[in-house]
């Protein structure tokens, strides 16, 4: 594209001659012979070079040129004037002008001036482009810094000595923001680099390396993280730093652990079922042979065993069904003295069999309480059975006793106290006893009993208080409101229970 030149000269014929010369050199020339004419042109000025005779001593043109230069700083001014007014022109325009020529203009001088003007123009253009690029880069840098900070992973950049040179916001939040400290110190609270460090491997071969680590935050929390590394290279392609990106997968691992133990529990439950079925087989065999031999003693024993096994299997199946489906309770007013006596009767059979003394202290007229009697009875029997088991398993003493007390504490409530002098519970057992699938009875327990009993009591709006000491015994105090809860109490159903597992690690993200 041809360079445009605005030619300002009052001497028309001189201007024409210059124009011919310039056009021959591929310039596009616009001629004006007065300031007024220049002004109209000025509004949509596109020229890059202005070649002007200031027409001194009149200074109108000088002002015009100053104006042009201040509003279009990229324009290159070349001045031509008579030898005697050159000093004045220089004085007035100073460095606004790229070149001063003396009239009459010599072609070599003009060529040189034009060449210089064009050099300036191209330099200016280059500068403009660089400035624009620089701005873009700065914006990009801000954007990348934002991305770096907001990525939902821990990011750190490390040098060859594993010193942190940059970390993102999440990293700073959980591990502090000390630049220059060692990665292994911050992540693992160690005094020396870890074995199999993926950062070291990336420094070695320039490739990304994954690992899974357990790291400790500044508040002492342990997180499982999945780590990837990436090399950062200088212009020569050498790895100067390594970026390490760690995703917190603690919740995932927790869930996986829970699922693993769930699988184990179900495995051990099926083992228990098999044992019960075998014992049931035994009962049936003895019943069969007893009948064939008319052996009264064997028949009685076999019948008891079949009864006991069917009871255990029934209980386990019911528990599994209860767990598999959360059901509505059907409340009815129940004579609590009668219900307590029934519970006592059920528990007595079990206690007698195990040589445990069972005592009852059931107040005479306790009145009515709104409960689902099936589930409430099952829950209470479960507490009683556990008390008997705690006695049976206890080898520290000979005489064992379970007491069952039912009374009215006032305040429209009813209380049950089940107390044994059995083996007692350690802290772990106390904390976990209501947990699904937790059992302290090995293959004899399903880990469902107390979990369900606890839920039944909770659904009734009741409370459970536990006191226990190892080898001394355990005391459960269960209190129920006499009226059913106004709104059905939402006790975590199985689905919600699974959700709780996921929410377990709140604030771990």
């Amino acid at each position: 594209m041809a360079t445009e030149i605005l030619l300002i000269d009052k001497d028309k014929s001189h201007a024409n001659a210059l124009a011919v010369y310039l056009e021959r050199q591929q310039f596009e020339v616009y001629k004006v012979d007065s300031c007024d004419a220049a002004m109209t042109y000025f509004d949509n000025l596109s020229a890059e070079i202005v070649l002007a005779d200031p027409g001194l001593p009149d200074t109108d043109t000088v002002h015009l040129l100053k104006q042009i230069k201040s509003s279009h700083p990229g324009i290159q001014l070349i001045l031509m004037c008579a030898d005697d007014s050159l000093d004045q022109a220089m004085d007035l325009l100073k460095q606004d002008v790229v070149h001063y020529l003396v009239k009459p203009v010599k072609s070599a001088a003009l060529d040189l001036a034009l060449k210089q003007a064009r050099t300036w123009i191209s330099m200016n253009n280059k500068m403009d482009r660089y400035e624009k690029k620089f701005k873009e880069m700065r914006n990009a840098q801000v954007l990348y810094q934002q991305l770096f900070d907001e990525v939902p992973c821990y990011i750190s950049v490390q040098d060859r000595e594993f010193r942190l040179t940059a970390t993102n916001r999440l990293f700073k939040r959980d591990f502090g923001d000390e630049i220059g400290s060692y990665c292994y110190e911050v992540y693992k609270h160690r005094g020396s680099p870890c074995n199999n460090c993926p950062v070291a491997a990336t420094f070695e071969d320039g490739l990304p390396h994954p690992t899974e680590e357990i790291v400790t935050s500044k508040s002492g929390k342990q997180y499982n993280v999945l780590t990837w590394t990436a090399p950062i290279r200088n212009v020569d392609g050498e790895v100067t730093q390594v970026m390490e990106m760690s995703t917190n997968i603690t919740r995932l691992r927790q869930l996986q652990d829970h699922l693993t133990s769930l699988g184990l529990m179900i495995g051990s439950m099926s083992h228990g079922v098999k044992g019960m079925l075998t014992a049931l087989d035994g009962g049936i065999y003895q019943l069969e042979t007893g009948l064939a031999r008319q052996d009264e003693k064997r028949i009685t024993k076999a019948f008891e065993q079949v009864q006991q096994m069917t009871g255990r299997i029934r209980k386990m199946v019911l528990e599994i069904l209860y767990y598999a489906k959360s059901r509505e309770l059907s409340y009815k007013p129940v004579d609590i003295t009668k219900m307590a006596e029934k519970v006592f009767g059920d528990a007595k059979a079990i206690a007698d069999k195990n040589g445990v003394v069972l005592e009852a202290d059931i107040a005479g007229d306790l009145g009515f309480v709104e409960v689902d009697s099936n589930w409430m009875q099952a829950a209470l029997v479960n507490f009683m059975e556990n008390a008997v088991d705690a006695c049976t398993y206890d080898q520290s003493k000979q005489d064992h006793k379970v007491s069952f007390k039912v009374f009215d504490p006032g305040n429209n409530r009813i209380c049950f106290i089940i107390e044994d002098n059995g083996m007692g519970m350690d802290r772990e057992t106390r904390e976990k006893m209501f947990t699904l699938f937790f059992t302290s009875k090995g293959s004899q327990g399903t880990g469902l009993g107390l979990f369900i009993a606890n839920r039944v009591i909770q659904q009734h709006g009741g409370t459970i208080k536990v006191e226990s000491e190892l080898q001394k015994g355990t005391r459960f105090k269960i209190c129920l409101p006499r009226k059913k809860p106004e709104q059905p109490l939402q006790v975590d159903d199985p689905g919600e229970w699974a959700n709780n597992l996921i929410d377990d690690g709140k604030g771990n993200a």
Partner: protein
């Protein structure tokens, strides 16, 4: 009379096996865990042992290893009766492995073969 030692931690199953074997003309003795079982084996030197794998304290395989180190016990045939399916081969030298609930005809046939 040939004698069978029953090692199982479930008293109901011990009772079942005792009755079953005695009805079929065998003498029995029994133990509820591996330690007692080992003592009983040394004392009684039975003609066959039925062994549960999962018991509180020592497990079945440990019992078997201890037993095979005793000169006069190591040739006694062992029948594994376990609730774990898939662990039938936990004791490679056992003459047979049954999973609970087992078929009593099958068990009696095995016993008859080895005693």
């Amino acid at each position: 009379m040939k004698k069978i030692l029953i090692v199982d931690d479930d008293p109901n199953i011990v009772d079942y096996l005792v009755t079953l074997f005695e009805d079929n003309g065998y003498a029995t003795c029994s133990a509820g865990n591996a330690q007692d079982g080992f003592e009983m084996a040394k004392q009684e030197v039975p003609d066959l042992i039925t062994l549960d794998l999962e018991m509180p304290g020592e497990w079945g395989p440990r019992f078997y290893r201890k037993m095979s180190e005793e000169k006069n016990l190591k040739n006694i045939p062992v029948v594994v009766i376990t609730g774990f399916s898939g662990s039938e081969h936990a004791i490679g030298k056992a003459v047979a492995s049954l999973t609970k609930p087992f078929d009593r005809g099958e068990l009696l046939a095995i016993v008859k073969e080895y005693v």
